[in-house]
Symmetry: C2
Subunit: 302 residues, 2 copies
Amino acid sequence: MSEILVVGSLAYDTISTPNGRVDRTLGGSANYFSLAASLYSKVRVVGVVGEDYEDKDFELLSSRSVDTAGLQKQKGKTFHWEGKYQGDMNEAITLATDLNVFEHFNPELPASYKDSSYVFLANIHPELQLRVLEQIDRPKIVGSDTMNFWIQSQLGSLKKVLTKVDVVLINEGEAKMLSGASNAISAAESILAMGPKAVVIKRGEYGFVMYSKEGYFILPAFPIAKVVDPTGAGDTFAGAFFGYLAKGDSDLSLKSLKEACVHGCLMASFTVQGFGLDSLRDVEWADVQQRFQDYGRVISFA
Amino acid sequence: MSEILVVGSLAYDTISTPNGRVDRTLGGSANYFSLAASLYSKVRVVGVVGEDYEDKDFELLSSRSVDTAGLQKQKGKTFHWEGKYQGDMNEAITLATDLNVFEHFNPELPASYKDSSYVFLANIHPELQLRVLEQIDRPKIVGSDTMNFWIQSQLGSLKKVLTKVDVVLINEGEAKMLSGASNAISAAESILAMGPKAVVIKRGEYGFVMYSKEGYFILPAFPIAKVVDPTGAGDTFAGAFFGYLAKGDSDLSLKSLKEACVHGCLMASFTVQGFGLDSLRDVEWADVQQRFQDYGRVISFA
C-alpha cells in the first residue's frame, strides 16, 4: 500500500436540487477525494481552510486516518460554493463562488509529504498544480482534473500540466471543450495526444470512458433511481480510482486502469444518493463489495 | 427461426450533419428495421410508399429475402423527412415532415402475415399500432416504439398500446417525457408499471438501459469516434433486437433480453458510421461477430 497525496479544495457548499436544499454543508474536492480514497489507502491532504472551518470537519478526515499536516488554517473564511441542479441534474448551475482564503492559496507541502508515490491534483489553478508537482521527489503516478474556467482562461498552463501527468480525469463537457471534439470517444483520443498515458472521461449517470494506448474501457454508472445530489461525484470517482491504484501499488496497465475505473464509478454512485458527503461518509467496505456484485449483474450478459 | 412482422415508415430523407448532407436518401423505420433484422431472421414488412418509390429500393429488401407483400404503393409521393443534427448529434432537429401517402396510411395485413410470431410496431400513430395488432392471430412477442408527437397528442391510445405489448423500445428523451421521470432508471421503472414486461431505453452514444421484472441491464454504445449520421440507429437497434429473438424463437427471459440488447446496440453502431442506410446495407455476419469481440474488450474487466 502506498500513500496518496491530494491537493484540492475544502469548502462549505450551499446546494439546491429538485430533492431539497442544504446550506453550508461540508464539501470541496479534497474532502470527497479523501473520504473515498481512505477506504483503500493512506491519504495526505493539502489545502486551505478559514477560521470558520469546524473542528468536527477536521475530525472527519482524522477519523479516517487522513494525514492533515498539509492543511493550512488561514485568517478569513473557508471557500464557499453555491449551486443548483435542475432536470436531469447532469450539470450544476453555479450561483455564487466565494473564494475567500482559497483566493491566495499557495500549496506548501510538509517535508513528510515529499515522498508521495500517488498524487492527485484536483481542480485548482493549473499553475498551482505545477507548483505542487515541483515539490514532490519522484511520484509514481500523477493524476489531474480541471474545469471549464481554467480551459478558457489558463489553457497554456493547463496544457503544460497535461504533459506532466499520467492520467487525466475530466468530465465529459470539459473534455469536449478542451479537445474541440463532438463526442467523448473522439475527445479521449485528442486528450491522450496532449501527453497523459490515460484519460478518464466522467459522464455522470452515463458512467465513464477510459482510454489509454492499449484501448477503450467504457461502462455505465450504477443505476440509481433517485439521484439526490450529484455534487462531488467526480472527486469521489477520482478518490476511489487513486485509492484502488495505491492500495495495490499498481501501475497503469490496462487491467489496473479498468479496475480502478470500476471502483471510481461505484463509489461515486454512493455519493449521489445523499446531499454533500452525507451518503459517502457512511460507506463501508462491505457496501462496496455488495455494490460490486450488484453491478456485475447489471452489466454482464455472457 | 420465426418470422417477424414490422409495420413502420418507408421514406426518403434529407439529412444534414456536421459531416455533410444527403438529399432524399432511402430511409424510414421499416427499412432500417428490416435490413437489421434480416441478418438474423425472416422479415415481413407492412407499409406504404408513393409512385416515386424506386424499384431498386424495393429490391434492396427483396435481396435480403424480406417479404414485401404488405407494402402498398399508392398514388402520390413517398413520405419525406428533412432534419439536421448539430453538436453532439444526440437529437435530430426536424426541418420538414411531408407525410404524403403516409398521411392516410391504413395498415392492411396480407392473409399470409397473420400468423406472425414476432411483431414490431415502429413509430406510427398508436391507433394504427392497435389496428395492426387486431389483425394478428396469436403473436408470441410484440414490441413497440413511439415518439414525442404521439406522447403529446395521443397519450390515451398510446397507453392502451403499452398494455398490449411485451416490450417497449423508446429513446431516452421520450422515455422521460412519457414517464415524467428525470432519469432513465426512474423512467424505466415507471414505464414498466404501464404494462409491458420489459422496457429498453435507447440512449444514443450512451448505449441503453433495459429493465424487466428480473432486473436492469445497462451498457454503453460501441465506441465510434466519428459518428456520420445517427438517423435510423434506434430502428436498427429494434431490428437486430427482434431479429435475434426471432432467430432463436426466444422468450423474454433476462438472458434473451440481454443478448438481444447487445445485438441491437452493436448493429446500431454500424448504422451511425454512414449516411442513411449506406453503412448498414453492407454489414455482413462476419462484421457483427468481429464487433462482438471488440465490444467484449471494451466493456470487460474481470
